[in-house]
């Protein structure tokens, strides 16, 4: 951000836009943290609270839309101001999706509480902690318009993908070992996928910050390493074919 506009109310509106985005981001972050807590502690009440709170994030997204449209119509922003407004619209959509995924995690946590605990629950919170840190850092980067910090978040998405890969394989193994775990493990697999998707959205936000600051879209390819779309697991033939 550079100096102030001659028209002060213009600055007020742009500032308000950034404030709502930060609020949304803070809420989404808390939603994910609570959803993971609900999963770990098998706390269905907390999960229910996460599901209900999703409406707050949605309401803030509507506010961002309305304010952004007002600024576009009344101020006709150009250059860095225009990017700020366009980026605010897109970041709010990303955050809204993050909160949706957090609510999904909470829903599945409730479903899982109806069944006995599964072992690998530990690795999912670890991945959750990583993604939470990404959300926090990307929001800080947004508030400070710090493209370098945003790029550090962007780099971390590959790590999340790798954790997801290992959880995917781990859960498949459990399911093969014990068919009674299939229901819970499937929920857990979706939870892991939801958290991985939240990481993708945080990465989107990082790219948008880069665009807002530099005026150019990022040319490099994302550090992608989600290999699960290609994973095939079959019982190994040597391992006692007990049929």
């Amino acid at each position: 951000m550079t100096g102030e506009h001659i028209v002060k109310s213009y600055d007020t509106e742009l500032g308000r836009l950034a404030t709502i985005i930060s609020q949304m981001g803070g809420l989404a972050e808390a939603q994910l943290a609570n959803a993971i807590q609900a999963l770990v502690r098998r706390d269905s009440d907390l999960a229910g609270q996460v599901i209900r709170s999703d409406a707050q994030v949605d309401a803030l997204e509507v506010q961002v839309d309305q304010l952004a449209i007002k600024v576009l119509a009344l101020r006709q922003p150009v250059a860095s101001d225009l990017r700020d407004v366009v980026v605010a619209l897109r970041i709010s959509a990303d955050i809204e999706r993050m909160a949706d995924y957090a609510a999904n995690v909470a829903k599945r946590a409730i479903a899982m509480n109806a069944a006995p605990a599964v072992r690998p629950v530990n690795s999912v919170p670890r991945m959750g902690a990583l993604v939470l840190a990404m959300i926090k850092d990307v929001l800080d980067a947004y508030a400070a318009r710090d493209a370098d910090k945003a790029m550090q978040v962007w780099q971390r998405d590959g790590e999340v993908d790798e954790m997801y890969n290992s959880i995917f394989r781990e859960l498949l193994t459990y399911m093969m070992e014990d068919p009674r775990a299939i229901s819970s493990c499937t929920h857990l697999l979706f939870i892991a996928k939801n958290i991985e998707r939240i990481g993708d959205h945080a990465t989107n936000v990082a790219e948008l910050i880069h665009y807002a600051v530099h005026g150019q879209t990022l040319k490099e390819a994302r550090p992608k390493s989600d290999t699960t779309p290609f994973a095939v697991v079959a019982p190994e033939s040597g391992e006692g074919g007990s049929r």
Partner: protein, 273 residues
């Protein structure tokens, strides 16, 4: 201090020339300086105006954009105490050469001013005024010119049934389009427009903008405007001037989306001063 240093490096403008210089410029300005008495109004302006495109000159009041425009057809010649140094070429021909015929030069560059200035005569006579000056009397040529110029200026449908009525009876927007018709009647190469819409209402302004869009390609247009949105809408290239210097010159889209210099960014986003 940083701002002054920034202003003095007109690097983007130079880069722009390096990139576009070979596309056949209509006008070339090189190291052009101008003083009103002791006060220097233009500092080392170097720029090329590309053929068939619309070039907008923007900048705050007193930045020298109108002075620069008026120098192009030597409208400043009669100003007392004026000193110039540098070169301006129209199609490679030195505008300030002692042998240049100023009247002939101005025929090659039609000019439209801030306030519509129709002459107190009929619409018809206004349009053919440049031809009258040339002594053309052939009625067929005159009639054809009136229709061509009025059509060109998007005024034909409104004016064709009242060609012999006084031009002063037209609305402000129509008068401005009449002035554009008069400017193009002599078939100039370049149209100079000095804030052509500043005295018009928004709808008349849009009509002029539409007209500029229609005329581009056929004519090279240079427009001075205070309305940045207008510069963004109508021009292909934009030159940003400040305190008599050319700060940044580039494709309009670039200047308004990702200006290279902080001062340009501050101006186009309304943070100036």
């Amino acid at each position: 201090m940083a701002a002054i240093a920034e202003m003095q490096s007109s690097a983007p403008a130079t880069e722009y020339h390096a990139k576009h210089g070979d596309q056949g410029p209509v006008i070339e300005v090189r190291d052009f300086n101008l003083w009103y008495g002791a006060a220097q109004a233009l500092h080392d302006i170097t720029m090329t105006i590309e053929r068939g495109l619309v070039t907008a000159l923007i900048g705050p009041s007193g930045c020298g954009k109108s002075t620069l425009l008026r120098c192009l057809n030597r409208m400043n010649d009669l100003v007392d105490g004026l000193t110039i140094r540098g070169t301006m070429l129209l199609e490679g021909q030195d505008i300030y050469d002692a042998r240049t015929d100023v009247i002939a030069l101005r025929k090659r560059m039609g000019m439209v001013f801030q306030k519509p200035n129709p002459f107190p005569m009929s619409i018809y006579e206004n349009v053919i005024y440049p031809l009258r000056v040339d002594g053309i009397r052939d009625r067929r040529i005159l009639d054809e010119t009136v229709e061509r110029a009025l059509r060109g200026a998007a005024l034909w449908e409104e004016a064709k049934d009242r060609l012999n009525e006084s031009a002063l009876g037209l609305s402000g927007g129509q008068q401005q389009r009449l002035c554009i018709a008069r400017a193009i009647a002599g078939d100039p190469e370049v149209l100079l427009m000095d804030e052509p819409c500043s005295a018009l209402d928004p709808i008349a302004t849009l009509k002029i903008e539409e007209l500029i869009d229609k005329l581009s390609g056929q004519y090279t247009i240079i427009i001075v405007t205070h309305n940045m949105q207008q510069a963004a809408r109508v021009s292909d290239n934009t030159a940003f001037m400040y305190l008599g210097r050319l700060i940044e010159y580039g494709e309009t889209e670039q200047v308004f989306t990702t200006p290279r210099l902080q001062r340009t960014l501050d101006y186009v986003t309304g943070r100036f001063g």
